[in-house]
Structure formats: structure tokens, C-alpha cells
Symmetry: C2
Subunit: 328 residues, 2 copies
Amino acid sequence: MKRTTIGDVAAAAGVSVATVSRVLNGGAVREATATRVWDAAARLDYTPNALTRSIFAGRASTIGVVIDDLRSPFYLDLMRGIDEVADANGSLVMFANTFHRAGREVAHVRTMDEQRVRGLVVTTGESTDDRTRRMAAGGTPCVIVARSVPDPSPGLHSVALDNVAAGRLIARHLVSCGRRSVGVITSGTRPSQLDRTEGLRQGLADAGLRLPEAAVASADVDEHVNDAVGALVERHTGMDSIVCLTGRRTVAVHSALTGRGLAIPDDIGFLTMDDFSWAPALGITVMAQPSYRMGQQAAELVIDNPGESAQLTFEPMLLARTSCGENG
Amino acid sequence: MKRTTIGDVAAAAGVSVATVSRVLNGGAVREATATRVWDAAARLDYTPNALTRSIFAGRASTIGVVIDDLRSPFYLDLMRGIDEVADANGSLVMFANTFHRAGREVAHVRTMDEQRVRGLVVTTGESTDDRTRRMAAGGTPCVIVARSVPDPSPGLHSVALDNVAAGRLIARHLVSCGRRSVGVITSGTRPSQLDRTEGLRQGLADAGLRLPEAAVASADVDEHVNDAVGALVERHTGMDSIVCLTGRRTVAVHSALTGRGLAIPDDIGFLTMDDFSWAPALGITVMAQPSYRMGQQAAELVIDNPGESAQLTFEPMLLARTSCGENG
DNA sequence: CCCACAGATGTAACTAGTTACATTCGGAGG
DNA sequence: CCTCCGAATGTAACTAGTTACATCTGTGGG
């Protein structure tokens, strides 16, 4: 059951391992010799060991990706963008979910480091900043997604939405639809969501409206969404619209609303993050991120690894449909 | 910029590399020595090279996954199931999309072989059967997903839905809803879809109904779906229901239907493959696969690698909602 | 006909670890 | 105080490749 090695091929072709290596990697070899080697390799079903190659090269050609959860439309598209660029560059993607558990984050990033990935795309929290910084310093470019790097250093890049702008645009749209009392559902305390909330607050203030504490509820898993919506309805009386600041909770918020018999947009306006394939059919207005392109850019940062820290910001795009009512 | 190696740690701790290796892997080492080694490792920020470990072990601990397209709800859940089991076993997932291109399939499976993955989960076509068979014989278990293996051999497993049963169940449900003239949308010529069509044909025959050639149209990309639906409407007169045999095309078929002004279920019944998060909200009846569990089982087959060829078949489950009308 | 030189090939050192085997160490018993 | 024995540690071979350098081969020019 032992696998064919370069030595077996060399023996079968009657040459040294160095010659086989040269044939495989394009060194100076006579035509006739090369043919003998290729024949032997094919006959023995030789498949070179990429691990050995990588250890000599100092690192693998793989791109590591550590993300929260593939179920989110944003992360899914991000992943596809990364995969596309990786594939075009002959790289594979090594992948792990954290499911929002900080311990997993740290462990996975370390594992990726052990795997000597060519570079790393992470959507993790601050718990891994130390290691990513050291990795970047050691020549493994790291791209933080959906969060800017607090203290830039070479090799440590970021790819993020302008979240404050997204919040302001949401506010402006809601106001233009005649909504005056907005409720907000967030999940957890990721900086991206804090920034969106802040932008929303600013945008509402521009229109002379307030976003009181009682108007914001958090649900870190789908199962808590219904209660969060209920709490909002109770304590934030007169609420005429609900904004979901995380694409991962869109379905749950939508069904909490319809489950209460609230009609969209007549009883309540609804706006959520991240475009998704059913949004047009459902008429749901969304604040879209260019997730696919963000993934491509993240992968390109890994592959090109510019000398300085690159901090890429992307503009949000509001896709107005009918869930907030007619736009005046 | 050179990375810390086991030799550096050994020198810093004043011991040999063998001792460091023993400390790391739990051999017999004196307490005091172990402490010195751990200290040195921490001080030098030592991160062992998993590639080197793997080359000595003969193979990596990584699980390879080669699938068509992450956008499909089935593949997404499958992937999550694989990831869950891999994670629980300390394995990482190495991942590549084929986007239905046969050339990519072959290349990606070969790359996974070169990476010496611990095992492989593939949803690919017959073009890779030769190599997966050789890989399995060489000790790399391979699991074919969504298709049974034509000629079982040790280490070559499969995980698939009972597609004929799925087709029959779809037929029975449609008939019980009073539908008598069914149209079918498929994508490509994957055996799974052929089997579903065959099952549908059988189920309709049981009720004394036929499925003529004109009632089946294929669309291998979303862009062709609208034309395919149009062709069905034209040539299959009297059609009272449409079945979409691939979850990847659900949105496109649905919008082709509503785009024509056809109301579901009043003008036309609609049933599709694979449950998805918006299906309850939209009232769409689906033929669900236990995709997540199939992914878990696939990963378990890779990890356990039973001696003989395991051919796991899963039962489809019809989730009746309202898109085919009221069930009598 | 021999030499020089370039191109082809082989030898051996190197990558970063693991592990079989040999050696050294330390404490108990004689 | 010196064996003796087992545990702790070191040495060196091994994994599967790449590559610098040495050697060999062949051919054209003198």
C-alpha cells in the first residue's frame, strides 16, 4: 500500500531522483530521458506529494479561511469570491467555521498557521489579533474581513464595508418612506453592527429623529429573535419599521413579524442587511454589500501581499424594493 | 524572517530536537526539562509545521471536498455537516468548487490527491471515477455524494438519496392534490436527476398518468430557466403543475412562473427539491434531503473508512406546504 | 585527433520534523 | 562507595521531495 515516490519513478526510468525532479519542474533534460521519465511516472501512477514540496518551499500554496458561519449570505458569497480567485491562481482553500465561539477562533487560526498557509482570510474578533499580527510579520499575509484593523502593520490588511455610511443610508431611506419610529435587531457586539447602529442614529438625527435605547434589541441566535422582536413591540410603542442589521437573522426576523400578523409594509416597514436570492420575490429592501467582490479582493490581497497594510473600504448599496412602503 | 524551528527551540532549551519532539508529543521527559522546553517554545513563538508532520505520517489530517457549487442549498448543508464532523475530529476541510466543469473536477481531485488528504468527499461525475478508485485502493477513502458507485471496491463509499423513491413521492403528492399534467425542469444529466425523473414517471404511471417527452425541459444555468419554462408552457398544453428537480434552480423557476403572471397554486402547482430557509414563508412544498446528516455521514465514512464499500442510501422527505394546493 | 565547453546527469546536502537505537544519568540496593 | 537498572536524553536515520555543485557526456573547433 506504500505510495509511489520520486525514487520509484527514478529507478523505473533508470535515472536519478534529481533528473525526475527536473523533468517534473522543467529543468534541462534531454528529450529522450524526459520521455522515459514521463512513461515511468504514468506507468507507476505517480502523484507527487504537495506537502513535501511545500515544506521545501517554506509554505503551502493553500489559502486559509476562518469565518463565522457559512449560512450567512454574506460569508457564503465572500467564500465564493475567495474560491474563485484562489482557483484562478492554482491555490486551494482551507476552510473552518468558528460558529462565533472565541475558543474556536483562536484554535483555527493557530491550525492555519501550523498548516503554513500562504495567507489567511479571517472574519474573527479581536481574540486573534495578536497571532495574525505575528503571522503577518512572519510573512503570512492576513486579511481581516468586516472589521478594520485597529493598529495597521505590514502584511495585515482589511476588507470592510463602510458600516457607518450603511447605517446613514438606511436611515435616509426609511425617512423618505415616511417612517419615523425605527426598531433595530442586532446580533452580538461585532464592531460592524455597532458602526451600523451608530450610522443609523446619525442618519435619524439628521432628520430630527431619535433612536432610543429601547429601540435596539439583540439576538445572538435565531431562537432569541422572536423574543427580541416581541420586546421591541412592547417597549418601543409606535414603532413603524424594523431594521435587521445582520443578514444571518433575516429569515427569523421576517417570520417573527409575519407570525405576529404584522403585514409588510402596511403594518410595519422591514429592511435588512445583505441581498439574497429570494429578496426580489419577497419584495424585501436590503442594504447590500459587494460580498463576492470583497472575497475576491481579500484573496488578491493574500496573493499579492502589498508591502504596507491595505485597508479596503467598500460602499454599501441600498436596493429599494417594497418592504418599506412606497418611496416618496 | 525565517520561522522558528524545532532546532531553535532545542538550542534555546539546551536539549536535543528529539527531546523537544517528545515534549510536544508526550513522550517520557523529566518535568524540569519539559518546563524548559515549553518556556523556550513560548518565548520563541514556536508553531510546529503541520506539513512536515504529515509527510512523516504519510498523509495529512485534512479532509478534501470537491463539490459542484456552494450556492446550492444541498451542497451548502452537506458542507456544513462535513465541517462539523471534521472539526470534532481535529481535521480541517480543504475545499474546491467545480462549477460543473469536468476539467476542473479532474484537476481538483488530482490536487487533493497531491495534498495527501486523509480522505475525499466528491460530488463529481464519472470523469473522476478512475482516480478515486485508485486513491481508495491506495488508502485514501473516497465518498461519492449524490450518486451511487457503479462498481463497489474497498474504500470507495457513497452517500445518496433514494432518488427513484423521491420521484415517486413527488408524483403521489401531486396526484393527491388533484394535479394531472406535470411539467419537469431538470439541469444537466446527472444520474440523480435521471433517477428522480424515472421515479416521477413510475409514480404517475401508478395513477394512470403519463409523463411525455414534451413535459421535460432542461436548463443547465439559471439564465436558461425562463426559456425552459416557456417551452414547457408552449408544448405541454394543459400543464397544471411544475416540478423542479434541482434545488439550485428553485429561485429561477419560481420567478419564471410568477414573471408569467401564473399564481401559485391557483394557476399552477409548484414543487421543488431541497428545503430552504424561505420555503415556509413562501409556502413552497419541497422534497427535502437530509443534507446535513449526509454530510456528517460522508465525513464519518472518511474518518472511519470501513473495510468494505459502504453504500448509504437516505430516504427523501416530502414537506407539504401550500404550493401544490390543498392536499385531499 | 585532442581539447574545450556546454549541456545532461548524478551526488549529496538540505527542508522540519519523527523515531529506533544507543548512550548517559540518577537513585536504590548491596 | 560501587554496581545495577530503568528512565531520560542524544545520535542518526528516515519521510519525499528540491537544488547547489560535481561529474560525465558529446560535439565542434583548432
